[in-house]
Amino acid sequence: MNVIPTAGRARIALVAALTALALLATACGSSDSGSSYPRRDVQVIVPYPAGSGIDTTTRALVDIINDDGDFGHRLQVVNREGGAGSVGTTAILNAKPDGYTIGVVPDGPLTLVPQTEDVSYDPDKLTVLNELIAGPIMFVVPGGSPFKDLGDLVDAAKAHPSSITIGEGPLNYRIPADLLEQKAGVKLKRVKFDGDQATTTALLGKNVDVGVMQLASALPQLSSGKLRALGITSADTVDLVPDVPTFKSQGIDVEWLAYNTLIAPEGLKADVKDKLASTFEKALKSDAFAKAAKKLGLIVSAAPPEEAAKHLKDKAANAKQVLGSSK
């Protein structure tokens, strides 16, 4: 598994050399190569480190597109991590809108973070391309927990206000917990954890009663029975975990999805946008990606640009109510 980055580097070097040759050829030769995009390799910025969930997803997709070859040039994943995604998002949105810098971002830096932080980019000035992943959030308890469903949790929280501990984290986890408190009229004791692994550890050691986490992170522990899910925030039950009921079916009106979306700077030309969107749509709907996603515990969305943009807008508006009222 460790050979990949090195091989990747060698490949990048090769590709860079070829690109240089190609550029040289264009420079010496004709001016009539026209407007056909792409004329060189495209950088796909991921604002999280290599090996992170979103990076694995993006690389799986990019490999499919590169192996397919129809795009004409290669896509290269570039990790620009830091600042909870703000460094990479800035790099994408402040790049030239020429189609050679695009990126895959979680929705947080676009929909949630700008509502609580000053950010160095304008979250409304962008071109939304395809939606890759739409992942629900789950409320998870240790295998031996007395809570069988959300109703038990709500009852216990009513009986002992502010004493049931819930492990949450970034805004994408905090808001569903806020929503549960609002809709059920309860108060939980909130403890922030640093990522799903830390929350899982705390659950296994019974240091928190309930944990909020992504489906993909909980999946291995759910199948081993060490953890149990109380509810999932998707609209319908999910094939990967058919036994986990939705929040809605348990009478708590919370629907919450975390998206991974392909974006580009504002002002992308229509033909470039179409080319990228159709290329990614094809890859997203491929069997190879479906297989990879299943292995990773991801739910493929493949929503086209308009729908993806609407999802982001709705989520930002939704979050505004919660964040506004909790401030």
Binding site: N2, P5, G51, K189, T201
Partner: protein, 512 residues
């Protein structure tokens, strides 16, 4: 377990791992032999390549360096009375006396075999205990983690060589530097001066390469240097006689146990364990007057102890995700850079990695035994290379490594500034190890502190209901009091343990 271990060895069908293990032990031996640069320096210079070699590869490489340096450090202690490492200071006392009495060969052999025995014992311990301890460690919550971090820092300050006050200053500096960047709980930006460059905080690689790589290079370059004359013993002079073997064997076993035990608890275990073992051997010996004049036990015990401590130190790292020693802080950094967060679920989540690393330690120890004895002559000849000649190379490696890690010139500047500051501070006796450990522990300490506050609603009596945390804090406080009492007693009667140190005229001060 046997199957798992077999799987771990099977991973070595991949020659990359074998090469990494070999590179690690050779490099470790080299930095162990050379008095200027130590395992921390070597690891920090190599941090930049850890994402290329992957998490397993990095662990193999770093474990090799760590074990190698404890072997290599003893060579110069014995032959020249120049400890290559702080953990070999004690070995020099009797080891060099043996050399002066013409028993250099047996001393080297005893040191190497004791190291090997101890290394093997600690690996077996790691293998047996880590999975079991994980299931205990998973129960520890934020208050216990907070207590462990505090204990780690307090004990490092109290037990390291040099001024405890200066260590405390460096720990505070490290904690302060660690707070720059995104707040782990609320996501607020802190001390970023409005820039995105600092949003992710200072690059750990840049800081470590600065205060160890660059600062060490500068320190060495400024040193007066004259080549040492070394006569390495011939191969047939290496074997100890029967009596020496009889004395060495139990000492090595006791040293292994002492080292293993101390390696599990916070503090500079490798160095402490050598002192502890030396004192134990002297007390148990029927002829304590021989100590300081070439006692075999004085070589076998401490050499076993530091190696066992090196192996044991991996346990808290893998089981708790908390490094108790600066070298382990670097191993942790290498894992984090690869997206691996060690903790109570590490052995369960990453069984292949765990067992491959265990296998790597076995293989590395064997390599060291095979390499060390025949190649003693070669390694000691390295001392004839003027350190100034290596400095440009080390600094170049640091600059390239830091830049390659983040493609950021800012990181290079951070490294150079940290290097210069580190160089000046070291000259004044401030410990960089304390600084680095504080930087590494800061996120865990802060997160667990804030979680504890959330649990307790800010009510401090909550901690009384967490007995494990209280025991950890109490143990740290007791050690602190004991070490303060000892320091006071030593001030009145200034030759109890320091007598051991001052009796040997080292040409260079041992580094931490």
């Amino acid at each position: 377990m046997i199957n798992d271990l077999a799987g771990g060895f099977a991973a070595f069908a991949d020659p990359t791992y074998l090469l990494l293990a070999l590179a690690g032990v050779v490099l470790g031996t080299l930095v162990g032999v050379l008095p200027g640069i130590g395992p921390i320096g070597a690891m920090s210079v190599l941090l930049g390549i850890t994402t290329q070699v992957g998490p397993t590869g990095s662990l193999i490489l770093f474990a090799g360096i760590y074990f190698g340096s404890t072997y290599g450090g003893s060579t110069t202690s014995i032959l020249l009375n120049v400890p290559g490492e702080a953990s070999s200071v004690v070995t020099a006392i009797d080891g060099n006396q043996m050399t002066r009495r013409g028993r250099a060969g047996p001393a080297l052999t005893i040191a190497a075999i004791s190291s090997f025995v101890a290394g093997t014992i600690s690996i077996v311990g790691l293998m047996l205990f880590a999975p079991t301890l994980s299931s205990v460690a998973v129960k520890l919550g934020p208050p216990e983690y907070m207590a462990l971090c505090l204990a780690g820092l307090v004990l490092l300050a109290a037990l390291s060589n040099g001024s405890a006050a200066k260590s405390v200053v460096m720990i505070c500096a490290g904690l302060a530097v660690g707070t720059v960047g995104i707040d782990p709980a609320d996501g607020d930006l802190r001390f970023t001066l409005g820039t995105t460059t600092l949003a992710e905080g200072f690059s750990f690689i840049a800081l470590v390469m600065g205060v160890f790589g660059i600062a060490e290079a500068l320190t060495m370059a400024g040193r007066r240097w004259s080549p040492e004359r070394v006569s390495a013993p011939r191969l047939r002079e290496l074997l100890p006689n029967r009596e020496e073997t009889r004395q060495a064997a139990p000492a090595a076993l006791r040293g292994s146990l002492i080292g293993f035990g101390l390696g599990l608890v916070p503090g500079p275990a490798a160095v402490l364990s050598t002192f502890a073992s030396y004192v134990t051997e002297k007390k148990l010996s029927r002829h304590p007057e021989k100590f300081g004049r070439g006692a075999v036990e004085g070589v076998a015990g401490p050499e076993a102890a530091n190696n066992a401590a090196a192996g044991a130190a991996f346990i808290p790292l893998m089981v708790l995700g908390i490094p108790f020693a600066p070298t382990m802080a670097l191993v942790l950094a290498a894992l984090l850079l690869n997206g691996i967060v060690p903790g109570p679920t590490f052995v369960d989540d990453q069984p292949e990695m765990f067992w491959t690393v265990i296998a790597a330690m076995y293989i590395g120890n064997l390599m060291l035994l095979v390499l060390n004895l025949p190649l003693v002559g070669l390694f000691t000849r390295l001392l004839a290379v003027p350190p100034q000649a290596m400095m440009p190379f080390i600094i170049g490696l640091c600059v390239v490594g830091v830049y390659a890690d983040g493609n950021s010139m800012f990181d290079v500047v951070v490294m150079l500034v940290a290097g210069l500051l580190g160089f000046l501070l070291r000259r004044s006796g401030f410990s960089m190890a304390a600084f680095v450990l504080a930087v590494v522990l800061q996120p865990t300490l802060e997160t667990s502190l804030r979680q504890t506050v959330a649990y307790s609603d800010g009510n401090a009596t909550y901690l009384l209901g967490r007995p494990v945390a209280m025991v950890i804090v109490a143990a740290a406080v007791l050690t602190l009091v004991a070490s303060a009492a000892r320091a006071l007693r030593n001030r009145r009667r200034p030759n109890v343990i320091s007598a051991d140190q001052s009796s040997q005229p080292t040409s260079q001060p041992p580094r931490q």
